[in-house]
């Protein structure tokens, strides 16, 4: 890229749209039989006017409930699905027009599928990928050494994939997706079904690759802890539309208005009532009070509590991203509704 040229976006989607057309079918067996002869079509809009742009090296969480259009978007980005409308460029290439050239630029990990050879030792799958992507031998060995160290692959390189645990298999799949140094990786639910330790190892790996190699990452996930840990930017999608695109902090700022004060009472009181708060739960002497941080500071609240009750301990729980996102899906995202009571 020449001097003064504005940096080119790694992914550029403008007004992206995908409509699926399917045969209308009634319910039950007669519906199924009827569908064999029916010529009535139903259109389902899976992705509706989605626009976003990603700079090289960005790590973005692409979040949405089931059926929101996440996978459909990813499929269009990988070139295996033709958009119904809109413009799309991935590393300067229109994916579905140049599926092969695009494929060389991308790496993909599906938490629910594996691209490894089931019956063969893990190492054989890597050898095959070296051949498919024409990775220079030296580069291949270097990457194998590097990923082997981070993901601790060496222990099970000689084990057939079908005998690996889910965590081991996922680590193998991550190495497989990164072996050819893709510019962009698409991670679709990469931590699904993993235990805490394996999840953490995978997150660590994603972070390292993004930071050290400058790989652009799109991460779709249900587990918002992945996003909290890894990305600063999230794109929320619902019913095929982008409903939020921005930093995680801003979202927390706007929607995470309610904090929880956990109070340990020193004595048992029949009723606990504190102005400006709501009792969320109470187990014996442990009380949880929800309050709006825009109306009440923690300091003022603790003072209010201690004026009326004897306590042994307090702590504050910040709103987690999970509850914020859940709230947005229920109520919709409205800019400027800061502090509205929920």
């Amino acid at each position: 890229m020449g001097k003064g040229t504005p940096s080119m976006a790694m992914i550029e989607a403008v007004g992206l749209r995908k409509v699926f057309r399917s045969l209308e079918r009634g319910s039950g067996i007669w519906g199924a039989v009827g569908a064999l002869f029916s010529r009535t079509f139903v259109d389902k809009v899976a992705v509706d006017d989605v626009s976003f742009s990603l700079e090289p090296g960005e790590l973005v969480g692409y979040i949405g409930p089931n059926g929101a259009g996440k996978s459909t978007t990813i499929k269009m980005l990988t070139g295996i699905l033709v958009p119904t409308g809109g413009k799309l460029r991935v590393a300067g290439i229109v994916p579905h027009e140049h599926r092969m050239a695009n494929a060389a630029n991308i790496g993909v990990v599906f938490g629910q599928r594996s691209q490894l050879y089931w019956d063969l030792p893990l190492r054989e799958s890597f050898e095959l990928l070296r051949s498919i992507y024409d990775i220079p031998r030296a580069r291949y060995l270097e990457n194998m050494r590097h990923f082997g160290a981070i993901l601790d692959l060496d222990r099970f390189l000689a084990t057939p994939v079908r005998q690996l645990s889910l965590g081991e298999r996922m680590r193998g799949d991550f190495a497989a997706a990164m072996l050819h140094d893709p510019k962009i990786v698409f991670l679709d639910e990469p931590t699904i079904g993993l235990d805490v330790v394996a999840k953490e190892a995978i997150r660590e790996f994603i972070g390292t690759v993004n930071r050290d190699r400058g790989t652009t990452v799109i991460l779709t996930t249900h587990d918002l802890a992945d996003v909290e840990r890894l990305s600063r930017r999230i794109i929320l999608i619902d019913e095929g539309k982008v409903i939020y695109d921005g930093s995680l902090e801003r979202l927390r700022e706007e929607y995470g208005t309610h904090r929880t004060l956990v109070v340990n009472l020193a004595e048992s009181y029949p009723d606990v009532v504190v102005a400006g708060t709501e009792v969320v739960s109470r187990e014996l002497n442990l009380v949880r009070l929800r309050f709006n941080r825009r109306e009440l500071t923690a300091e003022a609240l603790i003072r209010r509590v201690t004026e009326r009750y004897k306590i042994t301990d307090v702590s504050i729980i910040e709103p987690d991203i999970d509850s914020i996102v859940r709230r947005i899906y229920l109520e919709g995202y409205h800019e400027g509704t800061i502090g509205a009571p929920s």
Binding site: F20, R21, S22, T72, K75, T78, G79, I80, L81, V82, G92, I93, H96, E97, H98, R99, M100, A101, A103, A104, I106, V108, F110, R113, Q115, Y117, D119, L120, E124, E127, L128, S131, I132, Y133, D134, P160
Partner: protein, 270 residues
């Protein structure tokens, strides 16, 4: 913007075939049982034909040793031909894994072909010892080099016909996902009209006409009739030409089906 399509390299497809062979080798037990079952069938079929001929109800003018040779070679060919080399297409459509295949810089049908061929080569290599065993058990005829050479050419063309039929069959899964019923029908028709179990020349004249007009005869019947000498050298060109004709026709149908199916996947999302 001009985007260069990555240069075509054969190496990955050779690798696919090698990996398929390695994969088959992990199911060694399967291979041994299928060889054992073929040898049992070789022996049983011989008993049936011997009994039929002994009661003087010989169903054709073929001498007994020719018909025993025919059935034995047919069973050995079946070790290779009965492998559905394109089953992978159906399996991957069914599981949705085909999406990940399209995400790789590979020519997908060529990948299936390479994988299937690896499987077939592995099984073909195993046929050599079974062939020797079969010779010991039933003493089949071994023809001269011209006939044997033509037989192998014809066998290869028959293999391509079988590959195309299987490929077309598995392409149906692009629309239906399930192909079990269609597969049963095709297997039944192939068994009857392919000439694997019963030589087509012993059919009544009318049925022979039907059988020889269908592509299934190109799979087993043509190479086998060459082997036992029913098809004489002066008719070799015509016989091989007809097989080649079927390869071209079925290959064309397979290509059209694949294009339409692949388009459906990338437009409709499968």
């Amino acid at each position: 913007m001009i985007v260069a399509t990555p240069r075509f390299r054969l190496e990955p497809y050779v690798q696919f075939a090698q990996k398929a062979m390695a994969r088959e080798a992990t199911y060694r037990f399967d291979v041994f049982t299928s060889i054992a079952s073929v040898l049992v069938r070789v022996y049983l079929l011989r008993m049936v034909w011997v009994a039929l001929y002994a009661r003087n109800t010989a169903p054709s003018d073929l001498p007994l040793h020719a018909i025993i040779t025919y059935s034995t070679v047919a069973l050995l060919m079946g070790l290779v031909m009965d492998i559905d080399q394109t089953r992978m297409l159906h399996d991957r459509l069914h599981s949705g894994d085909i999406a990940t295949d399209f995400m790789k810089p590979i020519v997908v049908p060529l990948y299936f072909f390479a994988d299937g061929s690896g499987e077939v080569i592995f099984h073909a290599v195993l046929i050599v010892p079974s062939l020797l065993l079969a010779l010991l058990i039933v003493h089949i005829d071994v023809p001269g080099p011209l006939v044997l050479g033509t037989f192998f050419v014809s066998f290869f063309l028959g293999y391509l016909v079988g590959f195309c039929i299987n490929f077309i069959l598995n392409c149906v899964a692009f629309w239906t996902l399930e192909i079990h019923a269609v597969q049963l029908i095709v297997t039944w028709v192939t068994d009857l009209f392919g000439g694997e179990i019963i030589p087509l020349v012993i059919f009544p004249a009318f049925l022979q006409k039907v059988a020889f007009a269908l592509p299934f005869a190109a799979m087993f019947s043509t190479p086998l009739l060459i082997y036992i000498g029913v098809i004489k050298p002066e008719r070799y060109a015509a016989a091989l030409g007809l097989q080649a004709f079927w390869v071209v026709v079925l290959g064309f149908v397979a290509t059209v089906m694949w294009r339409a199916g692949a388009k459906r996947v990338i437009v409709q999302g499968g």
